[in-house]
């Protein structure tokens, strides 16, 4: 108290107090004053001012942080933050670089569709444009859940529009309004191997071309598989594009057997003159002693191919064991398999079984695949009475034969046509005459009657009669009614006879 008073001078009351509170009210002091008549702003207390400044500073800091963030994480994140992720743009995505798979989850079981097991459907293609429409109709009809099927196509050395037609069809499927049609991963792989062998039926099945052709096919299959097999596949299904008829449930039907490798029987329909139907795929067979002995005599790179007289193997073929009324679930152990339609567990391929593009135990491609699978103790099974139908493509001989048949048919038809025409003419000239005569007769009778009635008033009758008499030189058939000759009637008859006379 003392220093304060001394510094503010000698006056008892400070001056400004007098000026500020000179309204008659006593200043301060009176603590017990409760009068409401005085406005006193609660004012800017130092505490609130500090708080305001603090808020301002925090605001500035946040703004700077925001700008900094915008600078560091250029796009997307801030906007998505402000909009709470509701306005996230398409190109704003996260990358996942690590994948973890447990292969014991993808062993393949008998009821794969219930366990959501994925199938890889592999289709090797070369110049296959004409068959694609048929193939896609099969694809749409598979009853196995489509989203569990991954499609992989290998297009090699194609000169036609295979690639274009294929991708158009596939895009159409994935854009289908029906969600159930959509497939899983779809890969189209292009690779040219420099195919030297022609793809037409004759050169394709000629004996000499077989070994190198089969090795090339094997190579193509291996490239396709190695590019398309993923750690999440439980099954691999190989299907040729030229299968004409197959059950929609084929995947489930084959899977139910729960075998490592399984193939159906493959036949093809034939025209009637060739017997109606025929075993097609002769590559599914059981090994025989004869064939093993034969194999020992061949050199390291030789390839035994089935279905040619050059190698008589005496093997039991799956195709020949078919009974149309047999139990479709009947199984048969086989050693070589055909490639038209193979369902295999993915683990078979994971463990290294593939389509040998070299001579493996004197076999290549699918037959070598069967052999190798057996070698690694996998079960390889064929279904003799479960049949799918391969497209019938006539061979050159068949085409020649058919051309010949066509010509014969044409000749026969021409002959028949000629015969028919002759017969018609004959009929016209002879057979039909009686009825015509009857008609003419009645007509003539009518006319005669009319003439009788009108006779007195027809003056021009004589001239007509004369004309008809001039023409009637040719002898009429004997049944000519003689009695009631009329000027009009004979004229008609004569005209007809004239024409027929020409023929006779």
């Amino acid at each position: 108290m003392l220093p304060f008073t001394s510094s503010s001078g000698s006056k008892a009351v400070p001056r400004h107090h007098v000026s500020g509170y000179s309204n008659g009210y006593p200043r301060g002091g009176n603590t017990f004053e409760i009068s409401p008549h005085r406005f006193q702003p609660r004012g800017t207390t130092p505490a609130s001012r500090r708080r305001r400044r603090l808020l301002l500073r925090i605001g500035i800091a946040v703004a700077i942080c925001g700008l900094f963030a915008l600078f560091v994480w250029p796009r997307g994140s801030i906007i998505s933050l402000v909009s709470l992720g509701l306005l996230s743009r398409g190109d704003d995505f996260q990358l996942e670089t690590v994948r973890y798979y447990d292969l014991s989850n993808v062993q393949g079981t008998a009821r794969g569709w219930e366990r959501e097991e994925r199938i890889l459907l592999c289709v090797p293609l070369r110049d296959a444009e004409p068959h694609l429409a048929m193939f896609f109709s099969h694809l749409r009809n598979f009853t196995y859940p489509h989203h569990l099927i991954d499609l992989a196509f290998l297009v090699s050395d194609s000169k036609d529009r295979t690639l274009e037609v294929l991708s158009n069809n596939l895009e159409a499927i994935q854009a289908d309004p029906d969600d159930l049609q959509h497939y899983g991963e779809i890969s189209i792989i292009e690779k040219d191997f420099g195919q030297k062998v022609n793809q037409d039926v004759e050169s394709r099945h000629g004996f000499a071309a077989q070994a190198s052709r089969r090795k090339l096919m094997a190579q193509a299959r291996n490239w396709l598989l190695s590019a398309a097999l993923r750690p999440y596949h439980s099954w691999v299904y190989w299907r040729d594009v030229d299968v004409e008829t197959a059950p929609f449930t084929i995947l489930e039907d084959l899977m139910r057997h729960n075998k490592d490798v399984i193939v159906p029987n493959v036949w093809r329909p034939l025209p009637d003159w060739l017997g109606g139907e025929q075993p097609y795929d002769l590559n599914s067979w059981q090994e025989s002693e004869t064939a093993l002995a034969l194999a020992d005599t061949l050199d390291e790179d030789a390839v035994i191919v089935e279905g040619y007289a050059e190698y008589a193997t005496w093997r039991p073929h799956l195709a020949y064991l078919r009974d149309p009324y047999g139990d479709p679930d009947m199984e048969m152990e086989i050693d070589g398999v055909g490639g038209v339609s193979i369902l295999a567990k993915a683990k078979v391929f994971r463990h290294g079984v593939h389509f040998p593009a070299f001579s493996f135990e004197k076999h290549a491609e699918t037959e070598g695949f069967g052999k190798m699978a057996r070698r690694m103790d996998f079960s390889v099974v064929g279904l003799p009475h479960y049949t799918i139908w391969h497209l019938y493509e006539p061979s050159v001989d068949d085409i020649k034969h058919m051309e010949q048949m066509e010509q014969e048919k044409l000749a026969r038809e021409a002959e028949e046509k000629e015969k028919a025409e002759k017969a018609k003419k004959m009929k016209e000239s002879f057979g039909d005459a009686t009825s015509q005569w009857e008609k003419d007769k009645t007509e003539m009778q009518n006319i005669a009657l009319q003439e009788k009635k009108k006779k007195p008033d027809t003056p021009g009758g004589s001239t007509e009669g004369k004309a008809s008499k001039d023409k009637a030189n040719t002898p009429a058939p004997g049944s000519q009614p003689a009695g009631k000759e009329s000027p009009n009637g004979p004229a008609k008859v004569v005209a007809r006879n004239e024409k027929k006379g020409g023929v006779a």
């Binding site: 609660r42 708080r51 603090l54 925090i58 946040v62 942080c65 963030a69 994480w73 997307g76 994140s77 801030i78 933050l81 995505f93 996260q94 990358l95 996942e96 670089t97 690590v98 994948r99 973890y100 798979y101 447990d102 292969l103 014991s104 062993q107 989203h147 991708s167 596939l170 895009e171 994935q174 969600d179 497939y183 991963e185 779809i186 890969s187 189209i188 792989i189 292009e190 690779k191 040219d192 190579q219 291996n222 490239w223 598989l225 190695s226 590019a227 398309a228 097999l229 993923r230 750690p231 596949h233 994971r350 463990h351 290294g352 593939h354 040998p356 593009a357 070299f358 001579s359 690694m376």
Partner: protein, 373 residues
């Protein structure tokens, strides 16, 4: 005592509360923006697959919950005619797949991988681990290191993609100890299982864009930093460096090195003869005194100070380190788990490659080092 509301309460707010609130806000912000801190460059993003169903050699876009229908996977074209395999892989941006069957995790292996100078955005790693106690431990260790590199590491260290597979069959031996592992009677089963593991890893990861496959065992802890470029330079279908092991030589009392991998060899008439007398399922193993084959082993061809790029043709290869052109595997060359010309696993692989027309080459003076336990 009745106290007025509002202003008074505000007056009572402690600056500490505000600071806490701000901290909380930043915390929330961090988690809202956070994940994108480990983001990749636009170039890498553009190269990523659009769908999780895709070749594992490429990273993929994480599924974003857009709420609507999930679009079906797109139709993807891969032109394998355009995948080059050349002596100059860096310039041609060729993808390398490093495959490692792993039973134990060695930090040295991972550190060695990270120091490779080949562009990491072109390298995919593939691992396969058995499903047993040891395998689980190794998986945990591996995943820890992967997370460190791929999530928080610098982008140049991050690999293009990493695949971890767990084996679907049990390893035949309970132990992977050095002594037990190399007993001859155990070899057949062990190598057959190893072959299956290698094939499983290979055929599920190869994919349509790989140019080179580098087989590198999990116990290779030291290689030159330019390993991939050096081996690819030779432009051979199969290229095998020489695998050595560093050890403490008790005779000379200092660190020394000794040859380790005896599966790189050139065939001998003796071996041919032994093989011709064997049953169809017997296999001929290398490096065992009981079975003297007199094959020329690359392990002993090393000459100090000579050209590291000297080449020798090989008939059998080991898998410790081996660079293979992807086309060799695509043609079907795999690791036989059965007796293939009396050979198995990597040695059988060299034979199968040869049957397909691909010749193996060894580099006796180019060394990589095996872990010493």
């Amino acid at each position: 005592m009745a106290r007025p509301l509002g202003p008074v309460r505000l007056k009572k707010t402690n600056p500490v509360t505000i600071v806490l609130g701000a901290a909380l806000c930043i915390f929330i912000l961090y988690f809202l923006i956070g994940p994108s801190t480990s983001d990749f460059s636009p170039a890498r993003k553009a190269a990523a697959a659009l769908h999780p169903l895709s070749p594992p050699t490429s990273p993929f876009r994480k599924a974003t919950s857009t709420g609507g229908k999930v679009a079906p996977p797109p139709v993807i074209h891969y032109n394998l005619n355009n995948v080059t395999i050349s002596a100059n892989p860096v310039q041609n941006k060729e993808n390398v797949l490093i495959l490692t069957p792993m039973a134990r995790f060695y930090q040295g292996y991972w550190d060695n991988l990270l120091q490779l100078t080949y562009p990491h955005e072109l390298i995919t790693l593939g691992f396969i681990l058995p499903k047993n106690k040891e395998g689980n431990a190794a998986t945990t260790e591996l995943q820890k290191q992967i997370a460190k590199t791929q999530k928080s590491g610098p982008e140049k260290d991050r690999f293009k993609s990493i695949i971890i597979l767990r084996q679907d069959f049990d390893p035949p031996l309970p132990s992977q100890d050095e002594g037990e592992r190399h007993k001859m009677q155990n070899q057949r089963g062990r190598r057959a299982a190893m072959a299956k593991a290698r094939n499983s890893l290979l055929f599920t990861t190869l994919g349509p864009s790989t140019s080179w496959v580098l087989w590198l065992d999990a116990d290779i802890v030291e290689t030159p930093r330019t390993l991939i470029q050096d081996l690819a330079r030779h432009d051979k279908p199969l290229t095998a460096p020489n695998c050595f092991q560093r050890y403490y030589n008790t005779d000379s009392k200092k660190m020394d090195e000794r040859p380790y991998d005896f599966n790189n060899w050139q065939d001998s008439p003796t071996a041919q003869e032994i093989a011709s007398k064997m049953g169809p399922d017997d296999i001929l193993l290398e490096g065992y005194a009981e079975l003297a084959t007199y094959r020329a082993l690359m392990a002993y061809m090393y000459k100090e100070g000579e050209d590291i790029h000297q080449e020798v043709p090989l008939d059998g290869v080991g898998g410790t380190a081996l660079l293979v052109k992807a086309d060799v595997h695509r043609d079907g060359a795999m690791f036989p788990a059965f007796s293939f010309y009396h050979l198995i696993e990597t040695e059988g692989f060299a034979k199968m490659a040869k049957r397909l027309g691909w010749q193996a080459t060894g580099l006796p003076n180019y060394k990589v080092y095996h872990y010493n336990e």
